[in-house]
Amino acid sequence: MKNQPFKLSMTVAVAAMLSAGAASADTLRLLTWGGYAPEDVVAKFEAETGHTVEVTKSNNEEMIAKLRATGGGGFDLAQPSQDRIAGPQAEFGIYKPIDLSKIDASLFIPSMLEATQGNTTVGSDVYGVPHVWGTSGLVVDTAKASMVQDYTDLCASDVAGKVSYRLKRPTLIGFAFSMGLDPFAAYGDEAAYADIMSQVEAKLIECKAGVKTYWGGGDELMGLMRSGEVVASMAWDTGGWKLNSDNADITFVAPAAGALGWVDTFVLPAKGKADDAAYAWINFVMQPEVAAMITAAAGNFTASKGADEFASADLKARYQGSFPAEAIDNIKWYPPVPAGLEAIEGGVLDRVKAAK
């Protein structure tokens, strides 16, 4: 009998803690790209929902490596590109399916939502919804290198020693298209893909002498372009537009072979602990006004329906300048990367790096 009051008070205390936990106090650990979670958006979200947000900035490869190292733990929401979801999920099982009933589908541009869901389906489950999209292509100083119109033009002798690109898979894909090949069509056929890659490898080794350096990060590229050490480079559209605002000669050019289109998504890591906060964040940032704030910070447009109206006129003008109607149609959207292709690409990249 003596124990009765004690037991009772324990029950009350536990219940109180549980309800308090459910009501608020969730921490959303967000693994994302620079610019996708600007401070003003985070502050607004925290004020409205009571959750707190911890932002970790990263890139596709590191996101996947981090999640793989922990078996999908350590973060509650991640933002890899849509082509990097199905493969790693099949291989490492680092994500968990998205409960589409908790997503406000009306906030999304329907065609993008549908396409992303299609690209991120493994088995019968959907793993990703779209967030930010953009392209990569060429950033060109038009005063000095107007002849650079396609990826392979970076190898021209006119600009030798003054070009740059990343030694990463977008470069391999871009060069392949520019050489008249279709790597995306060969995704399902490893032998064909390896053949395409070996042709690209030969081309890149041939071009190596004329390359200033392989850039590693956005800031490095900005520095190279601003100083004039590099007059043409492969880059993201936003990088080109940002440079354009400083120097009108430099801008983003959609290459003749087509810009490469990417969509960054929302995925739930397999061992995420704050799913409610994650869903709340998705539905929050897809509101048109908030999406426009992210567009202002990151420079890219989002899959939020109606956010265009809030975007700045400058950005729209630059976008239209770089993308005439036919260039938009020509964008090559990355399909999901089948598991195993990275090994072929990696070998190519290593050999290009080692070549003299």
Binding site: A90, K168, G216, E229, G340, G346, L349, R351, A354
Partner: protein, 285 residues
């Protein structure tokens, strides 16, 4: 009494043993296990030595390792050649405040991160950088000079980053050399060179060996400096490991490379010790 002493010893050793086992031994065992797996299909693995074989059958990897090792050895020698006079000056010739000030100067670069230090070198060496502009303004160069993205730039960065780790053990051993002994060397008819060769260097040998081992290992394991200063020509073994782990999701091969780096670098250090007739015990004692 005896039991108490034993307990005290256990308590003293516990943090060290925890550190050793949790942070060194266990991760290495895990790494070893990962390196012995080979991917045979989506999500399927089997035990094999295939990853290690890959290293020895693909010339690219061997060449990269050899290049890394040779450049690290070269960087170690350069660091020693530059660091020795500096250490000698600080330990034996500078006195009082000058001595502390000079030592502090050696430390200053380490108050900022390696990234910032490397950026500093990039600002100096790049085509539109300070040295290039200086050369042009004094008329020694007619156009912009690119000094980045080559092996010399990597070497400069490695030597700069490693200097402190060479100078500190050298100062410590040289300070323990009494002035009398050096003077006796001269007094008995030795020239500057023979005193250096027969007295100062033999005395400083433990410092030279430990400094060289540390610098060699640091260079071999460095990632930032070679990648940033070497640019498109960097090609460093750690870069290969990084790209196996991060870019290619091939942890198995990356782990095997990591182990090979550990084993091969130990072999090189052991070989160098044998070659110079030194032993680790002598260096530590």
């Amino acid at each position: 009494m005896h039991r108490e002493a034993k307990l005290g010893l256990i308590l003293l050793l516990t943090p060290f043993l925890l550190w050793l086992s949790l942070l060194i031994v266990i991760p290495h065992i895990d790494l070893l296990l990962v390196s012995l797996r080979e991917r045979v299909g989506v999500g399927q693995y089997e035990i094999s030595l295939g990853n290690y074989l890959t290293f020895f059958t693909e010339p690219l990897y061997i060449v990269t390792f050899l290049r890394t090792a040779v450049m690290s050895i070269f960087a170690t020698i350069l660091t020693l050649l530059i660091g020795f006079p500096v250490a000698y000056y600080i330990a034996k010739m500078a006195k009082g405040r000058t001595q502390s000030a000079l030592f502090l100067l050696c430390l200053v670069p380490f108050w900022v991160s390696e990234l910032v230090r490397t950026f500093g070198w990039m600002i100096l060496l790049r085509e539109t950088g300070i040295i290039s502009n200086l050369l042009q303004s004094v008329g020694l160069a007619s156009g912009p000079v690119e000094m980045l993205y080559n092996d010399a730039a990597i070497m400069v960065g490695l030597v700069y980053t490693s200097m402190l780790f060479m100078v500190v053990p050298l100062i410590t051993t040289l300070e323990s050399l009494s002035d009398e002994v050096v003077e006796a060397g001269y007094d008995l008819g030795g020239s500057g060179f023979s005193v250096l060769r027969e007295i100062i260097i033999p005395h400083a040998m433990p410092g030279i060996v430990s400094g060289s081992i540390v610098v060699f290992m640091l260079c071999l394991g460095n990632y930032l400096t070679p990648t940033m200063l070497g640019g498109k020509e960097s090609l460093w073994f750690t870069e290969l490991i990084y790209s196996q782990f991060i870019v290619r999701f091939n942890w198995e091969l990356g782990a095997a490379f990591g182990f090979l780096l550990l084993i091969l670098s130990s072999v090189i250090v052991w070989g160098m010790l044998r070659l110079t007739g030194q032993s680790l015990e002598k260096t530590m004692g």
